[in-house]
Every structure is written in structure tokens, then in C-alpha cells.
Symmetry: none
Subunit: 434 residues, 2 copies
């Protein structure tokens, strides 16, 4: 199979000013990766003829496929076609049917059409025209000097749709392999522990390949294979996937699952069980994350956010004496929060979080001290986390939420509910609710 090195050049000063992110390059790369075409470079350059020309020349030297986005519109700073045509010694010629389309389209909305609009109907001689069904400027493709050149408008919706509709089928016909990838989602084994565990495997692998990625208190491994058919790529991945999951162990919470809350959603759905939450330092984030999932109302009955000592008493009925004696950030309060919200809502599972997210501490505990609890009809367990006093508020809230979702996962899959972090006290209750 011939391998095509691809470069995506996005043209627009608004990108260099940081006014928008380059989602065109992202969308196009994502589509290309699915048909097994390798993107080697993204380049962003402003609406400047000399610099654009030099980027095109650089791309001619290092890529087989050059895809540009942007700079096809009607204004004076839309220069992409002119510069590319010039770099490949092609004249621009007017496309009659695009000219007619522009006239009809624009006069349908405005009383008259200004002459500069017709600039959009000029295309490099011999191009295949991509008629724009989502805006006005057509895109185009041509082959010359052993290169494939594709030009697509800049506005994200136009870029995405035009690429998918016209350019992708054209390029897919050139590629004779497919790429398949799977994600092993992990909570409780860090990116560097994964690297330690799997470095030998990863560095010697060529097909499939495997790489770890970390995201706030959560991480995943991506295993990617290339073959001529989807089935063959899956066959290449399968033994590696099985072996890797075995090596990592029960911190693997799913394959191709978007996040921990989605895994909990799946498990609750399977078992037809419900949960509720009592949150202090996470301030509603656990509920918010779960209810981001459409259909969550079947499984999440409700929750309370008891952000002060007083509301812990008023909303949950936790005695103020207990709070005075033990403090709001304590094993006992966490336990009662989980038990009481479960009883109040009538859910199968109740979870809770109380802790110090910072930046200030509560005078008793370091920032990062968090108690999480899970209560169900056969278990009530509290775990104390020390998430690290140098961590920031957002991290502590995020990690605490992940921890709570992981407790639910462990409970529902029959795994021991252990703290996957270090420096943790384990506290276990098995008292049935009265």
C-alpha cells in the first residue's frame, strides 16, 4: 500500500489571533485517521500572500496530499486559490455554473450582488469542483506534480460537511487500508505507572501501537491497528487488548467508554438500580456529570448539596452535635450523608462527598482531605482520600467525583471497594440501615 503523507494548511488571521480554535484541522484529521491516511503536519498561516506561498512550497516538499481550509471567500484577503494556482502554474478560470449559483443565491437574500462575490467562482484550471451546499464558496481538488491538492472553505460547518461529502470518498478510494482503535479506560493507575508497566511492550510495538493519555485524575490507553480490512485490524488488536487489560487489572473500568459516569450509567441500567448523592465540597458536580448523560433521570433520583453545616442538618437531618463533635469533614458525617440521602430519596445506592477543596482549609484538615461514602442495602463504606494539599480546587473536585463513581462501579461489579490512591485510611461499616 502506498502511504500518503498529508499536511493540512489552515489560512486565516483569526486563528493566529486566537479568536477561534482550529477545529477544521481537527475534524479533517479525525476523518482521515478513520480511512488510514496519515496526517503529518497542521500549519496555520495568516491572510498574507508571501507567508502563505512559502507554506505551500514547504508542504510540496514534505507531503503528498495538501489540504487547505479557508481563504476561498469573496473579500480582498481571501487568497488561497490565487496563491495555490500560482504555485502549481495553473490559471484560474471561471466556472459558469458556480457563477450562476452565486447570482441566484445572493440575490435571493439581498437586493443585489456585489462584483467581488464572483471571485468565488474562479477555480484552478482542470479542478474537480466541490459545490458548496452549506454556504457560497465552492471547494475544489486537482492533481499536479505528483501531489493531490484539496481546497475547502474555512467556516467549520462548511469545512466539515464539504470534506465529508466530497473529499473523503475521493481520498478513501486511494487508501487501501483501514485504521481501528480502541481505548482502555483506567481509573487508579496513573499514566506513569502505565508507562512503567507497559513501556517494553509499547516501545517495541509497530502494529498495533499503544499509547497512554492522562486527563484530570483519569487516564486511558489507546491501541491502534492498521490493516486492509476492519476485521483484520480487530484481530491484530484483540490479543494485545486482552493481555493489556490483564496486566493492568481491575483499575480498568471499560473499553471505549467515554468516562466513569458513563460506565456507572451502563451498570445501573443493566441492573435496573438507582442512586442519589449528597455533596459538600463537590458542590453538585457529581449530579451534574451524571445528568449530562441523556436518560439519566431513570437512574439518578436526586441529590442534595449540603454546602454548610447548617444545611447538613436541615436537608439531611444530620445532628449538629455530631457535626460539632466530629467536624463536617469526617468519616461519620460522610457515612450519614450517604445513608440519609439514600433513605430520603429511596434509591438503591446513596453516595456522599465531604472534604476540603481549598484554597483555604477548614482549620482542622489539610486541603485535599476528602471523605467519600457509599451506602446500599448490604454495605456502607467510607474512604478517606488525601488528594494532596498542593492540588487545586478544580482537581480535588474532579478527582473526588471520579472516586465516587468508581466506588459505585466497584460495588456494582462485585470488586472490593478500595482506595486506588495512596495514603488512605480504609474505614468500613456494614451496619444495615434501620
Amino acid at each position: 500500500m502506498k502511504s500518503f503523507r498529508t499536511e493540512i494548511i489552515s489560512v486565516g488571521t483569526e486563528l493566529l489571533l486566537g479568536q477561534i480554535a482550529n477545529t477544521d484541522a481537527q475534524d479533517i484529521s479525525s476523518m482521515l485517521s478513520e480511512i488510514g491516511i496519515d496526517v503529518y503536519y497542521h500549519t496555520v498561516v495568516g491572510d498574507n500572500p508571501d507567508r502563505l506561498r512559502s507554506c505551500i512550497e514547504t508542504a510540496k516538499n514534505r507531503a503528498d496530499i495538501i489540504i487547505t481550509t479557508g481563504g476561498l471567500g469573496p473579500t480582498y484577503d481571501d487568497l488561497t486559490k490565487q496563491i495555490i494556482a500560482n504555485c502549481f502554474n495553473l490559471p484560474l478560470v471561471e466556472n459558469k455554473s458556480e457563477r450562476k449559483f452565486l447570482y441566484d443565491y445572493i440575490t435571493n437574500v439581498h437586493s443585489e450582488i456585489s462584483e467581488n462575490n464572483y471571485q468565488q467562482s474562479l477555480l484552478p484550471e482542470g479542478s474537480t469542483v466541490f459545490h458548496n451546499l452549506w454556504g457560497t464558496a465552492p471547494g475544489c481538488a486537482f492533481r499536479k506534480e505528483g501531489k493531490i491538492i484539496i481546497m475547502i472553505p474555512g467556516p467549520p460547518r462548511e469545512a466539515n460537511n464539504m470534506f465529508k461529502t466530497y473529499a473523503l470518498p475521493y481520498l478513501a478510494s486511494l487508501s487501501d487500508n483501514v485504521i481501528v482503535s480502541h481505548e482502555v479506560r483506567i481509573f487508579g493507575t496513573s499514566e506513569s505507572e502505565l508507562d512503567d508497566l507497559l513501556r517494553t511492550d509499547m516501545s517495541s510495538m509497530t502494529n498495533p501501537t499503544m499509547a497512554p493519555y492522562a486527563k484530570e485524575a483519569d487516564c486511558f490507553l489507546r491501541i491502534t491497528a492498521k490493516a486492509d480490512t476492519k476485521e483484520k485490524a480487530e484481530e491484530l488488536i484483540k490479543p494485545v487488548l486482552i493481555d493489556t487489560v490483564q496486566k493492568i487489572g481491575d483499575t480498568v473500568y471499560g473499553i471505549d467508554v467515554h468516562n466513569l459516569e458513563t460506565r456507572v450509567y451502563q451498570l445501573l441500567s443493566e441492573k435496573q438500580m438507582t442512586f442519589s448523592s449528597a455533596e459538600s465540597c463537590t458542590g453538585g458536580d457529581i449530579a451534574r456529570r451524571f445528568t449530562d448523560i441523556p436518560g439519566a433521570s431513570q437512574l439518578f433520583l436526586g441529590g442534595v448539596i449540603t454546602y454548610t453545616d447548617d444545611t447538613k442538618e436541615k436537608l439531611l437531618g444530620i445532628s449538629s452535635e455530631l457535626i460539632s463533635e466530629k467536624s463536617a469533614v469526617s468519616e461519620e458525617v460522610a457515612r450519614q450523608m450517604a445513608q440519609k440521602v439514600r433513605a430520603l430519596t429511596g434509591s438503591d445506592i446513596g453516595v456522599s462527598v465531604t472534604g476540603v477543596a481549598g484554597p483555604a482549609n477548614d482549620g482542622l484538615h489539610e486541603v485535599g482531605t476528602v471523605f467519600t461514602a457509599i451506602s446500599a442495602n448490604d454495605i456502607c463504606k467510607v474512604i478517606k482520600l488525601n488528594l494532596g494539599k498542593e492540588r487545586n480546587r478544580a482537581y480535588i473536585r474532579r478527582a473526588s467525583g471520579n472516586f465516587v463513581f468508581d466506588m459505585i462501579r466497584r460495588y456494582l461489579t462485585g470488586l472490593p471497594i478500595v482506595n486506588v490512591f495512596k495514603n488512605v485510611d480504609y474505614l468500613l461499616y456494614r451496619d444495615l440501615l434501620s
Copy 2:
């Protein structure tokens, strides 16, 4: 003033696979544009030593400032420092204090530290170290061969914060004019309405300049001036700012305020008042957004998430007859939710949201139908929103939350509590709580 040509090189195969957008380059470009430093190119390259080296060489030929993001982590494919040090003939040397930090940081959470973590403490000889307060890998900067090189980690939060904290002040000191900008934050006047209202002003302005930006159901105008001193730039902005705010009116909720919840935080602090929330379709997002602000516990007493009809009764005591009669998504239920959560928590203000966030509707209302209410000792007001059935779940939740925060703002500043969106029914109650 010397002009610095800047290139941002982002390193990471995940960018070329389209798994994430290059928001690092966007954020950094946006910050650089504010201090008057011109970005000429963005480049994205994978974790491949030869291609990375060639991109660095290209950048050396066309830029004065080279900023890299990514590739500073502990794994075998993190190569940025090695390649750059090599391109500039500098050895990598271990930074003792970063080594100690890594040891402390990692062993605080995990039982042991794996050796590869220390790779992060190796930095090009003579670099200025940017200690990472948001993660583990330090960044750095050095000057050599007439170039300024800055390396920043890839994870967006780390990249954004590290650049802002360390690199930006350093680069600002090189620029001999100052750029000052202010943001007029607006809720309830759309970007295109702003464009209509201010187009004549905006298109003829050169210094200051003014541009509108929109973000999910919230928008702002940025007014930017350039001068040799901060004071002169402020003087240029002042009359434009005053005039613009007058033209827009009371949908302006603040100047240089990060978001609506921050404005509400300021107002509650000034007045020493508290609030509580009862959320249905927003699922805790209002509480979560407010408690993202450090110090929120002084002002937010707590809340309930009554995600089902049953929990509306159990947690808030709203009668199931009322819900059966009027439906959970109704004016009466919204009103009672706000009143009852206020009474339960003893807060000065109670707010509520109940609606259909989609994707499925409730059989009675279109997706996007949302009732929001505010209750205080002298007012109880419900507003019905039609956020549009073609909007997605995330937008409807976000916009509903913004609307609730704006109701609190309007109440606290003595403005009429009106619906700032179109197609809306106005419902007003002035019954005092029993």
C-alpha cells in the same frame, strides 16, 4: 518597537489524529495578541523525532520567538526538550528542586515513584524554569542564537496557566508598547444584535478596536487599545466603553467579570446575602458553577437536585397531586421549588429550574421549555423560557443556568426581572411566603 515574529509548535500525535483541537495554540495566541506580539505560524507535528527536528529548524529560519506546547511528560514519546536542546546545542541537565518536587508530589499520592518521572526534571542548560503549579512537568525558557525559546506542557489547563503566569510577563517586557483591553460582558443581547447596534462604530475604529464574541448563551465585547503607557491606553478606551455600555443597556452585567456566577458572587458578597437552589433539568450545574468559585460557601447555603417527580415530593415537599395536575415542568412547580428550597435552607434567595433539556421530550412540552423562578422576601417570580427545540442538551442546561444567575443579578441590582430572550411568556407572582 521591535517586532517579534512568533511561531507556536504543538507536539502531539493526538492532535494529528483529530482527537483534540489545538486549544493551546489558540489560548497562547490570544494572550500574545493582547500584548501586541504577532503570531505568524502555528505548526502541529507528531511525537516523531525527525519531523519535530525539521519543524524546529524551519521555525528557527522564520521566527524570533518559538513556543512549543506538549512533549514534556514522563513517557518515552515525550521528546520536545531532547530535540530542542539538540537543535540549539545545549545539554539537558537535571534540576534538583524539580526532582525533589516530583518525588514529593508523586509519592504523596502513589506508593512509589517510577524512575521515568525524573525525565521531567531534565532541562536545557541555562534555562529559566517554569515550575508547574497545575501538574508535574516544568516548562522553561532560554535565549540562544538570537531566538527566544519557550516550552510549555500540553494539557490545556497547564499550558494556559503556565503561559499566563510565567511566559506572558516575560514576553510583555520585550514589547515597548502596551495593549490594554476590557471586556464588556453581556447577557441577553446576542452577538448579531450587537453587530447591528455597533457595526458603524466598530468598522471605523482603529485604536481602540472593538469586537464581539459569543459563547454558549453569553457574549462579550472586547475593547482593545495600544499606546506607550497603560494610562494612555486606558484613556483611549474610557469614552468608548462608557458610550458602548450606554448603547447596550442593562443586559451589560459587568466589565472584566469572568461570567454571570462571578457577578452574582460579587453582588451577594456586597450585600451579605445568601442563596440556595432547587434544580431539575440542570441537574446540579447551577450549584456546581457557583461553587467553582473559591469562598462560595459563605454565600451558597446548599441545594437540592430533584430529578424525578418523586424526589420533588420527598426532598422539597411539593405535593404529588400538584405535580400530577400541572406537570413537573410548570409555573407552579418552579415557584414552589424556589420557595421551598429557600425556606428549607433559610437562605435570602431561592432559585429553581425545571424544564426539558432533551433529547427526548416529556410528552407535554417541547425540548427547550424551561421554567425558572426566584423567591426572596419581597418577590417571587417565574419566567418561562423557550430555548428552542433544535438546541442541544448542553446548551439548554447552560442557558438555563445563565438565566437563573441573571435573575439573581437583576434582583440584587434592582432591575426588572425580565426575560431577555425572545418568544417568552412572562409570569409574575408577588405573594409573600407564608
